[in-house]
């Protein structure tokens, strides 16, 4: 099957200046540091990592909601790093994490969904606009009665659906899903995950699915990338990553996840990492994971590990790949 690259980033960098410290120090948070990957049309690339790893910043930088400090972004083969984004806003959209904060409390649900239609002049008459809004609402399981209500009258799961309908209003090809289910109740999460899958099939969407819950990411993604302190440490097919990961961080992340099965839990061998995640303002030299890595040695402090292809389609950055295996 022919795979075409829809989205690609090369050596993407996003540094934020940090205030404080003397005039001489110009500290930066290296939120995203030299990240490269691509996403094929129709696939879902999952991105996992813990707090401070930069996955949310990466998602937003991809959409140029933050301007990248360095590196390139490609969409459909074209370099969009410095172009006017307005036409691309119709192709690339985003769903946010917090359903309570991402909807304007003063607008009705219908207006929220219809805003995109208004901005890009997608409807020729008021009737057409209204029809399209109702169509979008029903795509996400809401009905026309909901269009005149305000966000505060809905539950978290319903608000998230409104956010999804808003993203779909421009008929996008690519959606960045920024932790879309983390703020929802467990029983609602499954509904929304299923809806994402159905919409992908129906509308031929491509997703970048960002989350910290690896179980959900593995369920919905074709490939998964693991980030740590601004760097991509491993990238592979979902099953390959879950069962045959090579990077020590990925291994410990997977083993730390509590499985909802008491016998499995009791039998599980946990790699419990010592220490805390270092601050992204002052990351460790060389390999950033070395302060918590059970395999770290002197060479890990000296140089950053190379991004190598370990097996077809499976990449990782670690000095000790052979030992880990």
């Amino acid at each position: 099957m022919e795979q075409t690259k829809l989205v690609e980033v090369q050596h993407l960098q996003q540094f934020f200046p940090v205030s404080g410290g003397s005039f001489a120090e110009r500290r930066v948070v290296k939120a995203v540091d030299d990240v490269s990957f691509f996403i094929n049309k129709g696939e879902t690339l999952g991105l996992v990592g813990e707090s401070g790893c930069g996955k949310t910043t990466l998602g937003r930088t991809l959409l140029r909601l933050y301007e990248p400090t360095d590196g390139k972004i490609f969409y459909g083969g074209k370099d969009i790093t410095h172009v006017n984004m307005l036409p691309y806003r119709r192709k690339m959209q985003i769903v946010f994490q917090d359903p309570y904060a991402s909807l304007d409390p003063r607008m009705t649900v219908g207006d929220i969904v219809g805003e995109a239609i208004d901005i890009h002049h997608l409807a020729k008459s008021a009737q057409e606009r209204q029809d399209r809004i109702i169509e979008l609402l029903s795509l996400v399981g809401l009905n026309s009665e909901h269009a005149n209500r305000y966000p505060h009258e809905f539950s978290g799961g319903q608000r998230q659906r409104v956010g999804i309908a808003r993203a779909l209003a421009v008929n996008p090809e690519f959606i960045v899903c920024d932790e879309p289910i983390s703020a929802l109740d467990v029983s609602i999460q499954a509904q929304v995950v299923n809806m994402f899958e159905d919409l992908q099939e129906q509308l031929g969407l491509t997703y970048l699915f960002i989350a910290h819950n690896l179980s959900v990411v593995k369920h919905i993604s074709n490939r998964i990338g693991v980030m740590y302190l601004g760097k991509l440490v491993e990238l592979a097919d979902s099953y390959e990553l879950t069962f045959h990961s090579v990077h020590p961080y990925t291994r410990s992340l997977i083993s730390a996840i509590p499985i909802a099965d008491p016998k499995v839990n009791r039998a599980a061998h946990r790699i419990v990492l010592q220490g805390d995640v270092p601050s992204p303002v002052n990351p460790p030299s060389g390999c950033r994971f070395r302060t918590r890595c059970p395999y770290a040695d002197a060479c890990c402090a000296e140089s950053e590990p190379e991004w190598k292809e370990v097996s077809p389609g499976h990449y990782a950055a670690c000095h000790h790949l052979d030992r880990v295996r």
Partner: protein, 351 residues
């Protein structure tokens, strides 16, 4: 003497509780009287905790799990009020205790750690101040002795360089460290019960593993009971002896961990277990979600609160709240389907 659960008819069970239980809650009802109306947060909740065991309370937002735990400590926020049932803790009858009496047992016999360590610690006091505060409040130790004890506690919870840490402020510590400090404060007076309200929800998964490990270690060392409140079934699977599943202010199922996971009796429990993606599955299986939305607590349904979302909902489920059925001695559930089986069996006998 045991009047939890099924013997609901014995209304005269007041002031009678099981002395073997550390916590004995019977038919608790609690409502919040807000300007919008009465929010019936707890609608007949019964559960118990034995000394030294870990009870997991699982539920979603609006289930009442935190409210139940807070009511044990008398921490129900205004405008909430206990309007029915009995709450016993360590021989004390919480319903009639005064605020002064409650203060003596809080931090002392029962402690609580909260979800968000960032806002639970006072940003203008050092860690040392906050740990010493609890020690000085409940014991007659001197300041020096309290400081020694604080240092002891910090090493107990796995924080190294305790002297340096005692002088630091909360904002200088990471999330995981702050949660450890919260645990240290909670354990300062060696309570019999530790209530952990979503202690790891705000933490990264690798830190969560550390903290849960720590809690289980401490439980073994100090022999305290733990009530672990969470929505994460994975967390309870690995740590709890018994589980109570709550939905819309009611305990819908309760029993030993293995029973709940391998022989779930309530449709809600079954639904939850089905809807979580399993990391270990070998191929992609579509999730089976629970349809519908959580209950509006201002206007809960007259019958079983889960009825509108239940696949097997029957007419009776809409009108009358189900009673508890015991599947084994320790495992019970409130569901009309279980009664239906009994009823049908009974009916067949007559014929």
């Amino acid at each position: 003497m045991n009047t939890t659960g099924s013997n609901a008819a014995t209304g005269a069970a007041q002031n009678v509780h099981n002395p073997d239980y550390l916590v004995d809650i019977q038919h608790e009802r609690l409502s919040f009287f807000t300007p919008a109306g009465e929010v019936k947060a707890l609608n007949d909740v019964s559960l118990y905790v034995r000394p030294g065991e870990v009870l997991g309370i699982v539920g979603e937002s609006g289930s009442g799990k935190s409210v139940t735990a807070y009511s044990i400590m008398g921490l129900t926020a205004y405008p909430g009020r206990l309007i029915g049932g009995d709450v016993w803790f360590n021989g004390h009858y919480i319903n009639t205790m005064t605020e002064k009496q409650m203060r003596r047992i809080r931090g002392n016999e029962v402690s609580i750690i909260f979800q968000d360590p960032m806002t639970s610690l006072n940003p203008v006091y050092t860690i040392g101040d906050q740990i010493r505060e609890v020690i000085l409040l409940h014991t007659d130790k001197t300041k020096q002795q309290a400081n020694d004890r604080a240092r002891e506690l910090l090493s107990l919870v796995g924080i190294n360089e305790p002297d340096k840490r005692l002088r630091q402020y909360p904002h200088e510590l990471s999330g995981g460290m702050r949660q450890r400090v919260m645990i240290a404060i909670a354990l300062a007076c060696e309570p019999k019960l530790l209530i952990a309200d979503e202690p790891t929800t705000a933490l990264d998964v690798t830190i969560q593993a550390q903290i849960l490990n720590l809690m289980m270690d401490l439980k073994k060392k100090l022999g305290m009971a733990i009530i672990l409140i969470t929505h994460d079934l994975g967390v309870v699977a690995g740590t709890c002896d018994r589980i109570a599943v709550m939905y819309a202010g009611k305990v819908v199922e309760s029993g030993p961990t293995d029973d709940i996971f391998y022989h779930p009796a309530h449709e809600y429990t079954k639904g939850l277990l089905r809807s979580i993606p399993n990391l270990n599955e070998q191929e992609h299986k579509r999730l089976i979600p629970i349809e519908g939305s959580p209950v509006d607590m201002l206007n809960p349904p007259a019958g079983c609160p889960f009825a509108p979302r239940c696949r097997s909902c029957m007419k009776i489920c809409l009108n009358r709240p189900p009673e508890y059925t015991h599947l084994t001695d320790a495992h019970f559930s409130a569901c009309w389907l279980l009664d239906k089986a009994k009823f049908e069996a009974q009916g067949e006998e007559k014929i």
